[in-house]
C-alpha cells in the first residue's frame, strides 16, 4: 500500500485546494467592506455552525415539550383528555406531563385564574427553566370569560402568553391545535427568553428602593435567599 504524505492544511489532490481557495476568495469579496481578516473568518465560522445547531435544538425542543401538570378548573378536565386515546397528543411528543415546574417547559393555564391564585401561577411560571412557553386555555384566563367579575384576572395581566385558545371550555382538539401552533412557533423562532422574544427588556418586576433592588419583587431573589425558590 502506498502511503501519501502531505503537509497539514495542504490538499491531498492536486488542484483541489486551489478550487477551495478560489471559493473562499469569492466569499470574502462578497463581504468586503463590512468585515476583515480574522473577524471575517470568525463570522463565517460562527454563522455556519450556530444556525444549524439552533435549528436542531429547536426541532428537538418543539417535538418533545413537557407540559406542567397544572389544572385550575373546567378546562383542566378537557386538558386531561388530551393524552387520552382519542386525541393522543403523544403522537407529537407532548404527553409527558411533569408534576414539577422545574421539569416542565410548557405551562397550560387551564381554567379561571382568581386573584388569590395569580401570584402562585406567576411563581410556578418563574420556577420553570428557560426557554419556556405558556398556553392560555379557555375564555376565563384569556379574557375572564362569562364571569368577568371582581374575582378573576386575565393571564395577560401577570405573565406572558404564547398562544390563546378560545372556547368555554375548548375541545381537546382545539388545545391540540394550539400546541401544534406553538410547536411551529418553537421551530421557527430559535430559543430565546420570553423577554427577548417579546422585546420586553426592562420590564423586570423590580420594585422597592434603588439601593436594594429587587426587594419585594416576586421574581427576583437576592444571593443566598432561597425561600420560595
Amino acid at each position: 500500500m502506498e502511503i501519501t504524505r502531505a503537509k497539514l492544511g495542504q490538499p491531498l489532490v492536486e488542484g483541489g485546494g486551489e478550487q477551495f481557495r478560489i471559493r473562499q476568495q469569492r466569499a470574502r469579496d462578497m463581504l468586503r467592506g463590512d468585515l476583515t481578516d480574522a473577524e471575517l473568518e470568525q463570522y463565517v465560522e460562527e454563522r455556519v455552525l450556530t444556525t444549524t445547531l439552533d435549528k436542531v435544538t429547536a426541532w428537538a425542543r418543539g417535538n418533545s415539550m413537557f407540559p406542567a401538570t397544572f389544572g385550575l378548573a373546567c378546562c383542566a378536565i378537557e386538558m386531561m383528555s388530551l393524552p387520552g386515546a382519542r386525541v393522543d397528543i403523544g403522537r407529537f411528543g407532548f404527553e409527558a406531563f411533569r408534576a414539577s415546574p422545574r421539569q416542565a417547559d410548557m405551562l397550560i393555564l387551564s381554567g379561571r385564574v382568581s386573584i388569590k391564585m395569580a401570584p402562585i401561577v406567576r411563581r410556578i411560571y418563574d420556577q420553570m427553566l428557560e426557554p419556556r412557553w405558556a398556553i392560555s386555555m379557555g375564555a376565563c384566563c384569556s379574557s375572564m370569560g362569562v364571569f368577568n367579575n371582581y374575582a378573576l384576572v386575565p393571564a395577560d395581566k401577570f405573565m406572558p402568553i404564547d398562544v390563546h385558545v378560545p372556547g368555554c371550555p375548548p375541545r381537546p382538539e382545539a388545545l391540540a391545535h394550539a400546541i401544534l401552533k406553538l410547536r411551529s412557533k418553537v421551530h421557527g423562532n430559535p430559543p430565546k427568553g420570553w423577554r427577548e422574544r417579546y422585546e420586553a427588556e426592562g420590564t423586570e418586576e423590580v420594585v422597592g428602593d434603588a439601593d436594594r433592588p429587587g426587594v419585594n419583587a416576586i421574581n427576583v431573589f437576592q444571593s443566598g435567599e432561597t425561600q420560595g425558590a
Binding site: 378548573a73 373546567c74 381554567g111 382568581s114 388569590k116 410556578i124 362569562v146 368577568n148 367579575n149 374575582a151
Partner: protein, 413 residues
C-alpha cells in the same frame, strides 16, 4: 409454595400500625404545605399538614384558590342568563348544577314541567353521573399509580360527551336545561345510541372491577384506610357516596323524589365499614344503577312537549315568530328583560354525584334573583378530610383525598 402467597405473607408480616418508629430518638412535629399546585389534590386545594415522621397528626385545608364570584355574578343577570354561570361551579356535574337552579326557579314560579322534559332531564343527569364517576375513578387511579385505568375511563367519558354533544351541541357546560324544561328535543337516533352506550358501559364497568378488585396493591391501599364512622359524617353534614359507604342509605332520589325519580326502579348501593374501598365500591355500583335508570327512562319516554307551554317563561318556537305578533312580543320581553319571578325564597336539594346539591334562590319580584346560594356537596364533604386522614400515613392521605372526590370549582364557587 407459590410466589404470590409468599408475597402476601411478606406483606402481611409488616406492621401497618400508625406508630412512629422512634428508636428512642426525639421526634418533633413538622408542618408542611401541600398545594395549591399539587397533582394529587384534584384541583387547587391547599393543605397544611402537621407531620410526625410520616404520620399526619393535623390537617388544615385552605380553599378559595378558584373563587370565581359565581353567586354574586348570578345576582346581576336575568334568571335565565344565570344558568350558564351556575353550570360552571362543579365542573363535573354541570347538568346537576343547572337542574338545582332551574328546579328552584320553577318552584318559585310554580311552573309545571312536562313529563317528557323530566325524563330527558333524568337521562342527562344520570349520564352526567356516570361521566363524573368515570373522571373520579380515572384520576384517583392515577394517584394510586394505576394509570391504565385512567385510559379506559376516559375512553368511556368521551362516549358520554359525544352523546351530550349530539343532544345539545356542547361537550361540557351544555346549557341544555332551561327553566320549564329543556332547550330542544333529542335528535333522531340519540336514544338508540344511549341504549348502546349503557350496554357497553355495564360490560366495561365489570372490566374496571376486574382490573382493580384483584389487584393486591390497590386493595392494600384501599382497605381499612381513611375510615370515618357514620355519626361523625352526619355531624359534619356529609352526604352522597361518602355517607352511603358507611351503610346509611340516604339518597335524595329515594328519600325525597324529584323530577319523576319515583317512576324508576333502582337500588342504592351502600357500604359496610366506610373505608376507602367501600367508597370505591359504592361509586362503582352507582354507575351500573345509573345505566338501569337511563334504560327505564328511555323505554318509558313519554310523548309530548319538551318545555312548558307557558309563554311567559319559555321562548316561543321559532316558527311562531313569523306568524304571531304575540309570540314576537313574548320573545322580545324574554330576551331583553327576562321573566319576573314572584317574591319569595326557596331551597331545592337534589342528589349530585357528590351528595346533596341544594340551590337557594331568593326573589324580590324583579327579573334578576336577589340571592343565589349553592349548598355544594364538595364543600361540606371536604370537612371529612381531617377525621379521615388524622393519624394515618401521608400516602394514605392521598388515597383518602382521591376517594373523597372534592371538586374545587364547587368548593370555592
Amino acid at each position: 409454595m407459590s410466589a404470590l402467597s409468599d408475597y402476601r405473607r411478606r406483606e402481611q408480616s409488616i406492621s401497618y400500625s400508625a406508630e412512629p418508629a422512634g428508636m428512642g430518638l426525639e421526634q418533633e412535629l413538622m408542618t408542611i404545605n401541600m398545594g395549591p399546585h399539587h397533582p394529587s389534590t384534584h384541583g387547587v386545594l391547599r393543605l397544611i399538614l402537621t407531620l410526625e415522621g410520616e404520620i399526619v397528626r393535623d390537617i388544615k385545608p385552605i380553599i378559595g384558590y378558584v373563587h370565581t364570584g359565581i353567586e354574586k355574578t348570578a345576582e346581576q343577570k336575568a334568571y335565565w342568563k344565570v344558568i350558564p354561570v351556575v353550570e360552571r361551579m362543579d365542573y363535573l356535574a354541570y347538568y346537576f348544577n343547572s337542574y338545582a337552579y332551574c328546579g328552584a326557579v320553577e318552584k318559585l314560579l310554580e311552573v309545571e314541567v312536562p313529563k317528557r322534559a323530566q325524563y330527558l332531564r333524568v337521562i342527562h343527569m344520570e349520564l352526567n353521573r356516570i361521566m363524573s364517576h368515570l373522571v373520579w375513578l380515572g384520576t384517583s387511579c392515577i394517584d394510586l399509580g394505576a394509570i391504565g385505568v385512567w385510559w379506559y375511563c376516559f375512553r368511556e367519558r368521551e362516549a358520554v360527551l359525544d352523546l351530550f354533544e349530539m343532544s345539545s351541541g356542547q361537550r361540557m357546560h351544555t346549557r341544555y336545561f332551561q327553566v320549564g324544561g329543556v332547550i330542544e328535543d333529542i335528535p333522531r337516533g340519540w336514544a338508540e345510541r344511549v341504549k348502546r352506550f349503557t350496554q357497553t358501559m355495564r360490560h366495561r364497568s365489570e372490566q374496571y372491577s376486574a382490573l382493580l378488585d384483584k389487584n393486591e396493591i390497590f386493595l392494600q391501599r384501599m382497605r381499612n384506610t381513611g375510615t370515618v364512622d357514620e355519626e361523625t359524617l352526619l355531624d359534619l353534614g356529609v352526604t352522597g357516596p361518602l355517607l352511603r359507604a358507611t351503610g346509611n342509605p340516604w339518597d335524595l332520589r329515594k328519600a325525597a323524589p324529584y323530577c319523576s325519580y319515583e317512576d324508576f326502579r333502582f337500588k342504592i348501593p351502600v357500604g359496610t365499614t366506610g373505608d376507602n374501598y367501600d367508597r370505591y365500591r359504592v361509586r362503582h355500583a352507582e354507575i351500573i344503577e345509573s345505566c338501569e335508570i337511563i334504560d327505564q327512562a328511555l323505554d318509558g319516554l313519554p310523548e309530548g312537549p319538551f318545555i312548558t307551554e307557558d309563554r311567559k317563561v319559555a321562548l316561543p318556537p321559532r316558527h311562531e315568530l313569523a306568524t304571531s305578533m304575540e309570540a314576537l312580543i313574548h320573545h322580545f320581553k324574554l330576551v331583553t328583560e327576562g321573566f319576573r319571578v314572584p317574591p319569595g325564597e326557596v331551597y331545592f336539594p337534589i342528589e349530585s354525584p357528590r351528595g346533596e346539591l341544594g340551590c337557594f334562590v331568593r326573589s324580590d319580584g324583579s327579573s334578576k334573583p336577589a340571592r343565589v346560594h349553592m349548598r355544594d356537596p364538595s364543600f361540606v364533604n371536604l370537612q371529612a378530610t381531617a377525621p379521615a386522614s388524622r393519624d394515618t400515613y401521608i400516602a394514605d392521605l392521598v388515597a383518602t383525598l382521591a376517594m373523597l372526590d372534592p371538586v374545587l370549582g364547587g368548593v370555592d364557587r
